[in-house]
Amino acid sequence: MRHILLGAVAALGLTVAPALAEYPEKDIQGVIQWGAGGSTDTVMRAVTPHAEKLLGRSVVMTNRTGGVGVIATKFVQSQDADGYTLLMSAENPQIYKVMGLADTDYSDFIPISVLARGVPLIVANNDAPYNTFAEFVAYAQANPGKVRIGSTGPGGVPSVVTAMLTTQVELPVTAVPYDGDGPALTALQGGAIDVMPAVLGAAIEHVRAGRMKVLALIDTVENPALPGIAPITAEYPGFGDYLPWGPFFGVFVKKGTPEDAVAKLRAAYQAAAEEADFKALMDGRGFKLMNISGAEAEAFLAKWQSVTSWLVFDAGIAKHSPEDFGIPRP
């Protein structure tokens, strides 16, 4: 009996093996790390329909939120490395180790495409008695603790930007945590906080309407969306060590996924990200299109991890030293 069963299994294996070469032979599952309506969700739901056309199969997307994205990341890791489960995620896993959130990061995954990067800004309430970054720093130093700066919790983008600022200038401010940059920017307009480090895309419409003012552009070059605003490196070249820096979005598969599946997914997502309407969306939301994969993406991810891990560690918000995980200082 056992022999017959084994024979049957072997026969099944023989018939399945050639079919596997034709990736994808069934629908693909896309696991979005953040909730519906967030920027990760919007980006993934905009790019994936184009990729589906090239793959010839549906990519069924579900939001699996929670634990700063750890739950989705761990879920994809628990699935087979067969290319049928995609992790659609943001920058967060790169600091899970130092923040003590999880023992994984993107070195356990293969980047299909790092799609785009956000550009951080420092914006302020219109009534604030300072109009430039230098004036803001002087005011904060003259009134220690008086300026309330928005944050999204330790390890969030605003906390990293604030940590970056404090490497170059002394900044005695009070950080007030919010649920995300959206609620924090709302609070900024209501005067509950005075200053907020936010990504350009989240703030740009409010800036255009004159409801908040820009103190600094945290980048090395001027941005077409903000003509006339000099990058922060013009006045403080020291920031050049960390920049360009920003939150990013990408599609990943588990390490060990077969080459042909990775190649097909890469081709599909790379072409999808070049579609005109996706580019327009990225421009509209103020993201820099990157669309990189392979060694280029891995180098970007490694640099990002090194810069950010050391920033949060030096600012005292990390639980573990990057040294423990062999992350080199930038």
Binding site: A36, R45, P177, G191, H206
Partner: protein
Amino acid sequence: MEQAFAYFTIAWLDPSLLLLVAAGTFAGIYIGAIPGLSVTMAVSILISFTFSWEVNDALCLMVGIFMGGVYGGSRTAILLNIPGAPSAIATALDGYPLAQKGEAGQAIGIATVMSVIGGFLGILVLAIAAPVVSDFALTFQPRDYMLLGVLGILLVGSLSGESLAKGVMAGALGMLIGAVGLDPLTAQERFTFGIVELWNGISFIAVMIGLFGVSEALAQLHHLDKAAVRQQVSKIVPSFSAIRKYLPLSLQTSGIGVIIGALPGTGGDIAALMAYDHAKRVVKDPEVPFGQGAKEGLVAPETANNAAVGGAFIPMLTLGIPGDAVTAIMIGALYIHGLNPGPMLMIDRPEMFWFMVGNLTLANVFLLIFGLTGIRLFTKIVECPRGVLIPLILLLSVVGAYAVNNSVSDVYWMLGFGVLGYFMKIYGYQVGPVILGVILSRLIDENWRRAIISERESLPDFFLNLIASPLSAVLLLAVVLIFVSQTPLWPRRRSPR
């Protein structure tokens, strides 16, 4: 003005848009009625589904689903005691007792008409006062949200049934459940015992389905052989005089709904509960006591949660700030379709505002039509033999709990809370305060701490600003008055009955 009217009627005059609003509203009613399937989920799936469509088509469908879904939650709340959505929790409190008396048809009829009235009032405020209301909503500081939360917690008094002590106990349990997960401010783990699945807290929908639906199914097992209640199906549409009688109350509760809906930190669920509490306070002599099938207890939450829809669009269309979870996703949809929702939207795309107002109005008209047809068929559900109905409720509960996060652990939570709710019922504890505690614990926790951090941890500054700001002072006064009015210090004007 003529221009505005032309934009307003875009969807009314285009047959395909008209059909999309109708289809959306129809689908929304059923999505809303099934616990676990939420409008938020439906709209986010629609983003990829409608990706290649024209933006107007996509928006018509989404608006229909939003309007229909908020109303649809009342269906299962009335018929099965399972609120289809958090905003229908208060509806179940008086709706289900009505169904038990054989008046499910009338209950659905009045819920429908009142939802539509609330919806229209919300849209009216959106149309005439959007900029004023959104500026007002922005002035709410963390301490004001905290006071709103405290005001909400006082509702425990209305929801505790036979014993206030038991109500407070249940409310405290709810606040404990709400505290589980990563601390929203510092990301510290609270009551998680190192389990990653608990980082996001216990799914509030799973708690709701368990405490309401499963516990009711378990309680019904005691009367398995009792014949089902015959439902009267005449007089489904409420009479004009009945509507006129509830009109003053519905105006007040719609007002509550619009404001709470327009606040970026609160949504239809809190609006409906606050409206229910308001009704309980202002309606002195209901024909039937609250909690046993008072019509006022249906009127208040149903007007408020549909008025909150119009409210949620106020900050979204004027400032690009979402008023609730659904409008947050719609903002994402606008981006994908190449628009830039923000304060400039009304200048860049002036047609968008009136187009949306027109869609909402249209969806509300369809709501009245679809809501009032098919009630007879729906009430048949309650007439099913219990041996058929109870397994169906349990199945629906399992599917609903799983669908929220595609997570099996939510199903276990749901079952666990079902058993807990069953024993709570036996020992005279109400489940309403638990849900209230879960909803409000985070609002109070976050905003109290945010407020005190903003004052650089100085208590004197905090209390000074509490009195110095007119808005905070009014809210504080409301909290104090409601509290004192429940104590012996309050002079009783009415003679005891």
